[in-house]
Symmetry: C2
Subunit: 336 residues, 2 copies
DNA sequence: TTGTATGCGTTATCAA
DNA sequence: TTGATAACGCATACAA
């Protein structure tokens, strides 16, 4: 006996559909008395206005889509958490899409979302630096879009990022101050905006301290555990770096495993610093020096920007870029 | 010029809406030729059948709702990952709801979902052991529901769990074999099914090895970092346990922090074992002995059960319980 | 303040 | 094989 609709509810109350409908809309004219009666009966019969019918009528879904490269990842789950909190305040629901860093999936998701399923999109882009024209179609006009963390530079839409250049610069400088002279930079996709920006910080910090930048110290890793294990061990053995700067959390972990296998001591033989959102970094052996992004807040701000667009209309000039600060936590993996 | 609808597409092709509609449905009679023409034009004009209109018509949403107590948590993000993978295979979308362990939110979400927004629900329940009658309304008849991990015993619906009793028994036994005589059990909600089952394993293992169970060794923790820190430190100081069995990942971490502050050595002064999905448990200091649940697989199986219900209709007798095995990984935190 | 009628974009039934 | 039309459940313009 569930799934009662507005017509049945109206009949049960001897009212018309429209009157009943009004009871659920805040603005409409309706006698307080009848409204109360309707709401009471609705509760009794467990009536819920059909979401699809309402949204077909209103042409909005009160739903936002989140597109991320992966889910089982501290950073993204914290960011989604941040988005979810803000979305709930606005009574919006969230759909989750995972690209697995696959550019094609990203395109498919975006294209699909043009069917009205979501009112807006919050996305951290997949790794590939291809043609992003398919996104411009949404741009300002169509489906509101906000980037966070990983962005496409050539797409003009609001974004929330962290001060990656500065953080990278400081991270590298920190290694230098701890005595490192041969610092390797571990990155997954150096051509993507985020890998690129972080790399520039690394390069400039080296230069400032008169350490020659050498291309061979840029270690291009993949998304596979096994491959990275080989790549990193090779790098450790052949280049013998005294410092490792991991642009991505999992590469710092991979370095720990590699050093363990190679019986190399961190921090004595090689110091390690990494971008990471791991809350228990202090519990690692040795505790890991991290550049930590405020992931939850990043998500929250991204959601905020999206709601500015959604609720402000075109008239409002939405902020185009929010930059949040990462924080450097010095721990034992880089001690002298 | 986006957001073209079926009528416009039909006009552009000099066809009727119905013919165009048929091109997108696999079963209908339509000339291969015209179908190809329609699909080509649809792609050109970027037409996407409106999701809300379709679903209003078909009375199904190809969407499943996932309700979890929290998001920023290894276990749940892995489980969601598992669900997502299966859902995508079936071309379903996923909505995420977070209860923050708040029973009222859980009720609200469930009630709300009766509006047709989702075809089914996968849920790990909030901590409270109250009246769950609101769920029975969905039961077999209405919105298909699958539990995973944390379940309500009194609700009759398919579920995916792990062999918690056995794992707990073995975990406790492992501590005993390593020489522990005073083992504390750290739990968040001992009355909830999962805390209860795990506790029974602990109790029975003690009994088997002729260690008297004492109530004071059951340490009831909360969801707050600060509170747990106090609770655990008090327990360590007053009870002086030589073994800690954490029923929940974060309590193992809290124990690590507490021991660090109290300058207690793990495993010499106190051994620690915990349920945990942390992939880098080997990198902790000391590496953490864990009972690890196959989180991703649990999510996948839960999704599978839901699709069995969704696609099998009432006729099919769906499996009521899937039990997956956790695995004990012995590491340094429990070495002699 | 309430009721009637129309349309949101689809799909399915029926007729051509 | 294709076209006209009704219906899905709701919200609003307009009439009462």
């Amino acid at each position: 006996m569930d799934h009662i609709n507005i017509k049945q509810l109206a009949e049960a109350l001897n009212l018309s559909k429209s009157t009943v409908s009004r009871a659920f809309r805040d603005n409409s004219d309706i006698k307080a008395d009848t409204k109360a009666r309707i709401l009471a009966k609705a509760k009794e019969l467990n009536y819920q206005p059909n979401h699809y019918a309402s949204n077909l009528r209103e042409q909005k879904s009160r739903t936002i889509a989140i597109i991320v490269p992966e889910l089982a990842n501290n950073y993204f789950s914290q960011a989604i958490h941040g988005i979810e909190r803000i979305a709930r305040l606005h009574n919006y629901h969230i759909l989750i899409y995972v690209t697995d860093d696959d550019y094609q999936k990203e395109i498919d998701f975006i294209r699909h979302l043009h069917n009205g399923r979501a009112d807006g999109i919050i996305m951290s882009v997949s790794g590939e630096a291809n043609n992003h024209n398919y996104l411009n179609r949404l741009g300002g006009k169509r489906l509101p879009l906000v980037f966070f963390d990983r962005v496409y530079e050539d797409i003009d839409t609001p974004r929330v990022v962290t001060n990656d250049y500065d953080s990278s610069f400081k991270a590298t400088e920190h290694l230098i101050e701890q005595g490192c002279k041969k610092i390797a930079y571990l990155v997954v996709n150096k051509s993507l905006s985020i890998g690129k920006t972080r790399m520039q910080g690394y390069v400039d910090a080296l230069e400032k301290h008169h350490i020659k930048f050498e291309d061979k110290y840029v270690i291009d890793c993949s998304n596979s555990y096994e491959e990275n294990d080989v790549i990193i061990k090779d790098a450790l053995k052949q280049l013998k770096p005294d410092g490792i700067f991991a642009a991505v959390e999992r590469l710092a972990f991979a370095t720990y495993y590699a050093c363990f296998d190679l019986k190399m001591n961190i921090p004595k033989e090689v110091k390690v610093i990494g971008f990471s959102s791991l809350e228990i970094a202090p519990l690692l052996n040795p505790s890991l020096t991290t550049v930590t992004q405020p992931a939850t807040e990043i998500g929250g701000q991204a959601a905020q920007l999206l709601f500015d667009m959604l609720e402000g209309g075109q008239s409002v000039n939405t902020i185009q870029e929010v930059v949040l600060k990462s924080k450097l936590f010095v721990r034992n993996s880089t001690s002298k």
